[in-house]
């Protein structure tokens, strides 16, 4: 296999050796992830839990996790992508409503959301039999 000169353009499959995929994962996966985490420790510095900056950073981090939730519901991976969007939204909304009705009990919310997804999908919408 001929290699392009610049290692930055090499892909996961470029080198036919046992160690290259490991190096690829460490460089493109481990390094950026733990760099951000380490920067987080540095920026946290002597930040106190009762400070206004902490309250602001916590709001930003919470909004980011909310964005991850939206992403997982609007553009899920794998088999969940085969379900209609309205059904996923309805399942999450029902789960949240059940969670509030049960006075913030997490397990009730999770199970109710799952039940809505599974029952409506199987009984009303119909599940495609081949996964993508």
């Amino acid at each position: 296999m001929s290699l392009p000169d610049n290692p930055l353009t090499w892909t996961y499959h470029s080198l036919d050796t046992w160690w290259w995929p490991t190096v690829f994962i460490l460089l493109a996966g481990f390094v950026p992830n733990d760099l951000w985490r380490a920067l987080g420790v540095v920026f946290a510095g002597r930040l106190r839990e009762d400070s206004e900056i902490f309250a602001y950073v916590k709001a930003v981090a919470t909004a980011i996790v909310a964005g991850v939730v939206a992403q997982l519901v609007f553009f899920p991976s794998g088999s969940l992508a085969l379900s209609p969007l309205w059904l996923r939204l309805l399942a999450v909304a029902s789960g949240f409503a059940a969670f509030k009705l049960a006075r913030n009990r997490v397990l009730v919310g999770v199970l109710a959301g799952e039940a809505v997804l599974i029952l409506l999908w199987v009984l009303v919408v119909g599940v495609p039999d081949r996964p993508v």
Binding site: L26, G29, P32, W36, A44, I64, V69, Q71, L72, G78
Partner: protein, 254 residues
């Protein structure tokens, strides 16, 4: 001090074991289900057993691991993969900044924090932000370490077993496992929010995400966090100020 001196003389390793025991919990079970799905995806994309375990333990944040598997699938270059993973993992930085002041005590060293920061990912973060404030400060680092390290090891074991077994789950079951994650994140964060700003941030985050997904798909999570978080923080400050004003008005009229 925390006013819980009675628990302060429980030694650190006991708190570590108490954290470990939380591996039998709803969030841990949900995460293991997510890693069953991840192992299947990795295998189908041509990622080997060792590489899948390395992805699970070395990256640990599931969305970034999925981005890397996607790059393997599309044969993306090292540089392009690095950029894509960096964008998807940027969120770990503000999350770590928010967790560190909750987790540490006077004796927690910088190196310990750097080591433990590797275990910051959404599930462990939600666990830390929701459970640690109820514990005495001296217990928090050990308790988080016990939980997060055990969780990561269990996820690596789950990935290994699922990769080897390569069971193809029925569509509905696989989909239901995938939905567990957003459902759990949403209700557990809502339930654990101590101030209205945090609940508002959940709402604004979900509300502004579609806007930034459409406007700025590369940086959607960063913008969602900045815009949603700033909105929530500002609204929370306004509400607190109004409440304070009303209280002084009531005191003046009384």
């Amino acid at each position: 001090m925390d006013g819980r001196e009675d628990q302060d003389d429980v030694p650190g390793h006991r708190w570590f074991f108490r954290g470990m025991r939380q591996i039998v919990s709803i969030p841990a079970t949900i995460l293991m289900a997510a890693f069953v799905g991840f192992a299947g995806l990795a295998r189908e994309s041509g990622v080997g057993l060792w590489e899948a375990i390395l992805l699970a333990g070395g990256i640990w944040a599931l969305p970034s691991a999925v981005v890397l598997v996607g790059a393997v699938q599309t044969n993306a270059s090292l540089a392009a993969t690095f950029i894509a993973v960096s964008l998807s993992s940027f969120r770990l930085m503000p999350m770590t900044v928010a967790l560190v002041p909750v987790m540490r005590n006077e004796r927690t060293g910088r190196l310990t924090l750097l080591f433990l920061s590797h275990f910051v990912a959404v599930t462990a973060w939600v666990f830390g932000m929701t459970r640690l404030p109820d514990l005495p400060r001296s217990a928090r680092t050990a308790y988080f370490a016990g939980f997060a390290i055990t969780l990561a090891c269990a996820a690596m074991a789950t990935t290994a077993v699922s990769h080897v077994a390569a069971a193809r789950l029925p569509v509905v079951l696989a989909a239901a496992l995938t939905l567990l994650t957003p459902l759990y994140f949403l209700v557990s964060l809502w339930g654990a929010a101590r101030v209205s700003t945090d609940r508002l941030a959940l709402l604004t985050g979900v509300a502004v995400w579609p806007v930034f997904h459409w406007l700025e798909p590369e940086f959607e999570l960063i913008w969602t966090g900045l815009a949603g978080g700033t909105l929530a923080y500002g609204a929370g400050r306004l509400a607190a100020a109004r409440q304070a004003r009303r209280r002084t008005a009531e005191e003046a009229s009384a």
